[in-house]
Structures are given as C-alpha cells and as structure tokens.
Symmetry: C2
C-alpha cells in the first residue's frame, strides 16, 4: 500500500542491527529470522535486503562492531600496566572472559557462527583482533623476562583456552559474577602453565 515510508521513519543499518540484537537476547541467534527482525521494526522482510545483501552480510556487520568493542576492553586492561607483567596478563585474560560472559549474544555471533555465515571482512576482523591479543601477550611475556624465546604457539594456546571457557558457559544462564571464582582459578591455571 505504501511502498515508501516518510523519511523520518526510514530504515537504516543501525536500526536493523539494534532490532536483531534485541531478538538475540531472547532467542538464540539461530532462531532469529530476517522476517522476525523486519516484523519487530514494522517493516516487511524485503526491506532488509535493500540495506544488507543477505543474512551473512547483516551478521558480519554486527560482528565487526563487536570486535571493535572487544579490542577496546583489552586495550583498557593493558593500559593499567603499573604492576608486574604477570598481573597485567591475568587482567587481560579476565577481561576477555568478562566480555564474553557479559555480552553472550555478541560473543555468540562473533565466534560461534559457521564460516559460511560470515563474509570476508568479518573473518578479517576476527584475525586482526587476535593479532592484537597475541602481540600484547608476547610483549608481556618477554617483559616478564622469560629465558630464551617465547614459542609463537603460546599466545594461540592461551586464546584457545580462554575461548574454551567462554564458549562452554555461553549457553548457560550463569553470569560473569557467578563464575568469577571459577574464572580466576582457570586463569590462574593458565598463567601458572607459563611459569
């Protein structure tokens, strides 16, 4: 009936991503449909395809925004480097876990999507974010005076460990606060492995 709305209520990428986020909170991202997102906004589903090429394109845009946030959190954790490198390391690890558990719907699409559900740009953002993490970890390990070189596989192992922790609790109801003690034990185990 009205194949174009008044400009004040026009759709844009931000509104679409926001609606998608709200749906992710209640249902898992698997069951969030393009039709559902459009319906929540009062539009027909076809309108979304004017703003995003397809569902992977929408997911990817959200993922890239989320990686920017994660990078900020890790930067903050590193910025307080007044104490020992080992303590900074623990802060970074805890910041990672906290980000994952405080923003489960975000983390879910960042790391739990199949590769086919993301476009190239989003995959690049994943890798870039990991590179920052790895560089920071390597620097801290060297600063803390490790004898000899630090094997390049170490940051990767640490990342995998952190991801394993978050990924498991992603689909439970438990919050970061509830898991705090366990997370600290876990991180402690990780850091002791580096000694």
């Amino acid at each position: 009936m009205t194949p174009r709305k008044a400009v004040v209520e026009e759709l844009d990428k931000e509104k679409i991503m926001q609606a998608a986020r709200e749906l992710f909170v209640t249902k898992g991202y698997r069951s969030v449909s393009m039709r559902g997102i459009a319906g929540r906004l009062g539009y027909s589903h076809g309108a979304l395809y004017y703003h995003f090429k397809d569902k992977a394109d929408l997911f990817s845009a959200m993922v890239m925004a989320d990686f920017d946030r994660l990078n900020d959190r890790l930067d903050e954790a590193m910025a307080e480097h007044t104490d020992h490198p080992a303590a900074t390391l623990e802060r970074i690890f805890m910041a990672y876990i906290r980000f994952g558990l405080d923003h489960k719907p975000h983390y879910e699409i960042m790391f739990m999507l199949e590769q086919s559900e993301l476009n190239d740009a989003a995959r690049r953002a994943q890798m870039v974010s990991y590179d920052r993490f790895a560089a920071a970890v390597l620097r801290l390990l060297r600063d803390s005076g490790k004898p000899g070189g630090v094997p390049i596989a170490v940051p990767w192992s640490l990342f995998l460990s952190l991801h394993g922790f978050v990924a498991y609790y992603l689909h439970t109801e438990q919050t970061y606060d509830q898991l705090l003690g366990l997370a600290e034990q876990y991180v402690g185990l990780m850091v002791r492995g580096l000694g």
Copy 2:
C-alpha cells in the same frame, strides 16, 4: 505408488544414521536435512519420522553412540598406567584431542549442537562422559601426590581447555597429525599449570 518396500530393503535406524554421517562429512551438519538423508537412501523424507521422532532424536542417537566411542578411547589411554601419573594425564589429554580431530563430524554433533537440538538422553550421556573424565583426572592428580586437596574445579578447567583446542580446529582442514606438535605444546602448558 508402493507405500511399503520389500522387507529385504527396509529402513532401520542404523542405515539412517550411516547416511547422515556420510552427509556430515561433505557438508556441515547444519546443512544436512532430513530430506537429504532420505534422498540419499532412496526413500521419501516422511519415512524417517517413523524411525526417529524428529531431527533432534536422530542427532541424539548419533551423539550417544559417539560418546561410547570416546569413553573407550579414554579408557584405553588410562589403561597404560605403567609410568608416572603425569604421563598418563598427558596421554589422556592427547587421546581426547585426537578423538576430536580424527572424527570431526562426530565431535561436531557431540559438542557443538545447541541444547535444543538434543534430547534429554543425549544430554545425560554428555554429563556421564564428563564425569568419567573428571574422576580419572582427579584420581591421577591425587596419585601423583598433590599436597592438600585438588580443587574440584581443576578437572573442569582441563576439560574446557581441551574442548577449546578441538572446537577451534574443528572447522579447519588441518588433521591431527598436522597439529600434533601444537597439541603437545598445548597439553604441556596445561600439565605445567598443574604443577
């Protein structure tokens, strides 16, 4: 036209699970459909619903069979307990990683399915299998003469670490043999954390 086939070519659960497995190898399990499985066997999709209540029921049956196999592998790794407990621990960890990477399609449905995609029995099998793992790890840690008690969270942390490793490489082309060196470093880091 022929609403029942000759008895020699009747469908059964085994045939269906086998066909599903074959499809998992080429496509991810996400894109394996009930129609696709039936088609591969030369049946119409409705026939599957006579043998399995729904897709979750089919997946769950496969998952439970896979946990039996994983339990066997871990039992084998523990059985060779001629040497130090620490060496046995490493063998168990490596056996876990090996199972995951040697049987990626199996591991995928065992651990990467959403809870809603499994029925109660399959969820129980997951927990029982973890309990075996945890009991074995706890026993070995105590045998190796840990001073004081071993926190109950330790086996769980170890499991999460192993899962993190396997989960990441699940969607890559890399084989267990190619990742052997990295896996050994990773396991080494884990065990050192216990010292």
